[in-house]
């Protein structure tokens, strides 16, 4: 039976006939591999986003940067960093930081867990659509990676004057960044409107 598949790279919609096992389909126009639904999308998204959700807690609880300067010793969590920006009257930047580094990643991870978990629950289509809209909306504001960059920069730049090392939470933090990325990549949004019967078919 022929299926209509849209190429994810160039957008060309094309009919794809029965595909023999262990073979791939290439786009007629751009020759990138096309697929009807990403394979194992749901299980992978669930695994990655769940792990990200678990590690989100230590990554915010433990300090990500610790600096030592002539015996002065200070450790900073992400939230403390934002608070000290606020204390320095940098309200706009503090709010931006809070939105991009705490709020948006949290919403996104919870949203992905929700989508992957409820994918075959009938009657939840509406809320899934809704959650997906929110994820789409906040995704551009999701800039967790910026913080990692900030840590690296401060280690290189202040390294001469003070000893700056990654704090205990930095590993969890980096893992959250990576896992969120992987979860986003492995999630196939087309699954949202598939009926449970269709999903069984693609697994």
């Amino acid at each position: 039976m022929d299926q209509l598949v849209a190429c994810q790279t160039c957008g060309l919609v094309q009919a794809v006939g029965g595909v023999p096992k262990d073979s791939v389909v290439k786009c007629a126009r751009c020759h990138f591999q096309i697929f009807h639904r990403r394979r194992h999308s749901r299980a992978r998204t669930l695994a990655f986003s769940l792990a990200a959700l678990i590690l989100y807690i230590p990554s915010n609880y433990y300090p990500v940067v610790s600096a030592e300067y002539e015996g002065h010793h200070s450790e900073t969590t992400i939230f403390q960093g934002i608070r000290s920006l606020y204390a320095h009257q940098q309200y706009f930047i503090a709010a931006l930081m809070f939105g991009t580094s705490i709020l948006s990643p949290m919403l996104k991870i919870i949203g992905l867990v929700f989508l992957a978990a409820t994918l075959d629950w009938p009657g939840w289509e509406k809320s899934r659509n809704w959650v997906y809209q929110i994820i789409r909306l906040i995704d551009p504001w999701n800039m967790l990676e910026v913080f990692l960059l900030a840590i690296c920069v401060s280690m290189v730049e202040i390294g001469e004057i003070a000893t700056v090392h990654p704090g205990r939470g930095v590993f969890a933090f980096a893992a959250v960044v990576l896992l969120t990325l992987l979860a986003t990549l492995s999630f196939d949004s087309r699954l949202i409107w598939d009926s449970p019967a269709d999903q069984k078919h693609y697994e």
Binding site: H40, A47, L50, I54, I57, P58, E70, R168, A175
Partner: protein, 288 residues
């Protein structure tokens, strides 16, 4: 591939467990030290040190309910657990600039920190902080000197025998009826045999200036250090009497008698056993 996916959240849980272990299993005890004044200490920042090495960090500073003391809560490192014993003395190291001595200069830039002299009693979590660095626990001969006035003496002023420093002033206070000054002095154990019950003590601080018609001007000072910090000298008569014991009282003369300078008794100084001099207790300090 699919069946291994469950391992990813599991690994995340394990990492969380590792963090919790570090927090609760691999950490030393939280101790509370009460100080009168914690000037220069900072929450979540200032360190506890022992022998110059960091052994813990201050978590919170809180005024007690009666506003008399400040409770310092500090988390010790696991390796320093053995330091939290009864008898341990904690004090705050601050920069100090005193005549004759400068100390704690490092704290000018690093901020004040808490230092500890370990105790050897039962493990405990609550301590009373000392106001000053305790004198090193070197056993010595404790003497009481009585003088009409203090002169320039102060705690830690040196005690000399033939201009060699053999001890220190421990404390100065007014006598019971406020008619004299009582100075507590400690002579190091090594030099204890020098002090006999008939020894003479005099204040070696400051400058003595004599002007006589025939002798001319005469200016004496024991040493440059005593000019500022004060000091005590003593001499022992050639005719030796019994060795002074702890708590023996002497009169602190204002100046030395000329005759005392001629005394030169031969007193054998036997070596003091190493264990007696260096009795710094090191209870249960784990190896690093």
């Amino acid at each position: 591939m699919n069946r291994w996916l469950g391992l990813i959240p599991l690994a995340a849980l394990l990492l969380c467990g590792w963090y919790l272990c570090q927090d609760y299993l691999f950490k030393g005890p939280v101790i509370t030290i009460y100080f009168q004044n914690v000037e220069g200490l900072q929450e979540n920042n200032s360190l506890l040190q022992y022998r110059g090495e960091s052994i813990g960090e201050i978590q919170t500073l809180k005024l007690t309910a009666d506003h008399q003391l400040v409770a310092v809560r500090a988390r010790l490192d696991a390796t320093a657990t053995g330091l939290a014993r009864q008898g341990a003395v904690f004090w705050i190291v601050r920069p100090e600039l005193k005549p004759g001595s400068v100390s704690g200069l490092g704290t000018l830039v690093s901020g004040n920190f808490i230092n500890v002299q370990p105790g050897d009693g039962a493990p405990t979590n609550v301590f009373t902080g000392a106001e000053k660095e305790p004198l090193a626990p070197i056993p010595g001969l404790e003497l009481m000197l009585r003088a009409p006035k203090l002169g320039s003496l102060q705690p830690r002023s040196p005690v000399f025998y033939r201009e060699i420093k053999v001890g220190e002033v421990e404390s100065c206070r007014l006598g019971e009826d406020a008619r004299e000054v009582v100075i507590q002095v400690r002579v190091e154990a090594e030099y204890a045999p020098l002090v006999r019950v008939n020894s003479k003590f005099w204040n070696a601080g400051g400058i003595n200036f004599h002007f006589g018609l025939f002798s001319g001007a005469n200016l004496t000072a024991e040493s440059a250090q005593t000019l500022i910090s004060g000091g005590i000298s003593f001499a022992t008569p050639t005719a030796l009497e019994s060795v002074a014991t702890n708590g023996t009282e002497f009169v602190l003369n204002e100046t030395a008698d000329a005759a005392w300078a001629t005394w030169s008794p031969a007193i054998p100084l036997q070596a003091v056993p190493e264990a007696m001099i260096n009795k710094t207790p090191m209870p249960g300090l784990g190896t690093k």
